[in-house]
């Protein structure tokens, strides 16, 4: 079986698109496109909102509400939105399926980013915030020059776990007939072509891992060394050198509302 998967993946015709069929590169592009759009929209909504909530400590109920969205089954939501929205589109377009998919992916990404951003800002040491105001910083200066840089590790881990969830869930776009790497999984299943199905699974997992790695690198170069503890002479003990793990984000964001 593993040999079959390998030969499926190493067949160049499976990578190239034809007029008739979309290959791995094409579906990879579609997968990335759906994911990127959802992540950008989620970021545009959740990041400013999270910074504002964290900074002002107002409307914290929004965080709880966003976390409640997690209990919604994404497949159910997708199907619901598809049956509502898809019939309104005519012609050679898959917009009627893209919109529901993007809504589901955005809703999926928002809670992680939002709650981690809020937690990140709120977790900034009181003394640090106090000092910032005491130095004569204005509210926005405190937010952007002090709170945001210090919240970056948590914001990043929120974004990383959102990315993982979105990449994983974008596969179910194929359940409602769209492209993306999920196509290989659902098609392989229907065609009883298990090497194709397993290859699809491997491709999605590999994509998730690679993106997470890239984000980890980005995080490494954007977050101040003073916060990561990645300093030449670290005098911290324990596991401070260990790279932040996306799963710690999953935890923190869910632990946060309980602690609140």
């Amino acid at each position: 079986m593993i040999g079959d998967v390998f030969s499926w993946l190493s067949d160049p015709t499976h990578w190239q698109s034809t007029n008739f069929d979309t290959g791995i590169w094409g579906q990879l592009g579609a997968h990335l496109r759906y994911s990127a759009i959802a992540l950008v929209i989620a970021l545009v909504i959740a990041l400013p909102l999270g910074l504002w909530i964290g900074h002002t400590n107002k409307a914290t109920w929004i965080v709880s509400a966003a976390n409640a969205i997690r209990a919604l089954p994404s497949v159910g939501l997708l199907v619901l939105l598809v049956v509502i929205i898809a019939p309104h589109f005519y012609g050679r377009t898959d917009t009627g399926y893209v919109i529901p998919t993007e809504i589901v992916l955005v809703l999926l990404a928002i809670p992680s980013i939002l709650s981690n951003t809020v937690a990140g800002v709120q977790n900034v040491d009181r003394a640090v915030r106090d000092a910032a105001y005491g130095m004569g910083m204005t509210g926005p200066q405190v937010l952007f020059r002090v709170e945001t840089p210090n919240a970056l590790p948590l914001i990043f881990s929120g974004f990383r776990s959102a990315t993982l969830q979105v990449i994983a869930t974008a596969t179910i776009a194929s359940y409602v007939t769209l492209g993306g790497l999920g196509r290989f999984i659902y098609d392989g299943l229907a065609q009883q072509d298990y090497p194709q199905m397993i290859s699809g699974g491997l491709l999605v997992a590999a994509l998730a891992l690679i993106l997470d790695l890239l984000l980890a690198l980005l995080q490494r170069y954007t977050v101040s060394r003073g916060i990561t503890g990645r300093t030449r002479r670290s005098d911290r003990a324990g596991h401070s050198d260990e790279a932040p793990d996306p799963r710690s984000a999953v935890l923190t964001e869910d632990l946060a509302p309980e602690a609140a």
Binding site: V75, G76, V79, L80, Y175, A208, P246, R247, L251
Partner: protein
């Protein structure tokens, strides 16, 4: 005839739909419940020794966290289809779903257990040793109870996540509440057929709430000392 049709397709007809298909829906609910719970229990049982090892031996911690972190990045549908070839199961084996979910639960809970155990203060550990607990006794009588609240938080995440992930297995033909979505989708011919979809969403959310509540309840029973403190 037509008003009746409109009514039976309305989103509010989900209860009538449930009554009409009670045995099937209860079957889905039951499948969904055990698929959500059993893997978390299995995951916890595996995560306890692994988490303990990562605390007991410092060198175990970083690789353990990397591996479990890596497992958690694999999308669920990918894991469902990757499990059979890896374990030599039939591609349609019904075991792949609970196994995949157990893998996630372990991946999530190992860190939680390790962090929970790490949260026990050194003073408490020294005191326990001084009183005369042996390592195993100390683990079960002192460290584990103190780590319960942190582990509980992890269990809540795991179980709520499972309820949602199980529906994905419904799209590739496994019985659970996800099948209601499939059904609604298939019957949404000219106009949307809401009842099974809405019913599925409601049952999933209720199941998540109930299971979450159960974990909290068990947590309360296991940590009587926390009730004395106002939160």
């Amino acid at each position: 005839m037509i008003p009746l049709d409109a009514a039976s397709s309305s989103p509010w007809h989900f209860w009538g739909y449930f009554l009409d298909h009670r045995s099937q829906d209860l079957g889905y609910l039951w499948d969904h419940t055990w698929l959500s719970v059993v893997p978390v229990v299995v995951g916890l049982l595996l995560a306890l020794p692994l988490g303990w090892l990562s605390r007991r031996y410092n060198w175990v911690y970083p690789p353990m966290m990397s591996i479990t972190g890596l497992l958690y990045t694999i999308p669920s549908i990918a894991l469902f289809v990757l499990i059979p070839p890896l374990l030599g199961l039939d591609p349609l084996s019904p075991l792949q779903v609970p196994i995949a979910l157990s893998v996630y639960s372990v991946a999530l809970l190992v860190r939680v257990v390790a962090d929970g155990l790490g949260a026990v203060s050194p003073e408490t550990l020294q005191a326990a040793t001084a009183i005369g607990f042996k390592p195993l006794g100390r683990f079960f009588r002192v460290e584990l109870p103190i780590a319960v609240p942190v582990i509980t938080a992890g269990l809540r995440v795991a179980i709520v996540a499972n309820v949602s992930i199980v529906t994905v297995a419904g799209t590739i033909g496994f019985d659970n509440l996800g099948r209601l979505f499939d059904e609604g989708f298939k019957l949404s011919t000219d106009t949307p057929y809401y009842p099974p979809i809405i019913l599925g969403i409601i049952l999933c959310v209720l199941l998540a709430l109930v299971l979450d509540g159960l974990v909290l309840l068990v947590n309360r029973l296991l940590t009587p000392w926390r009730r004395a403190v106002p939160t």
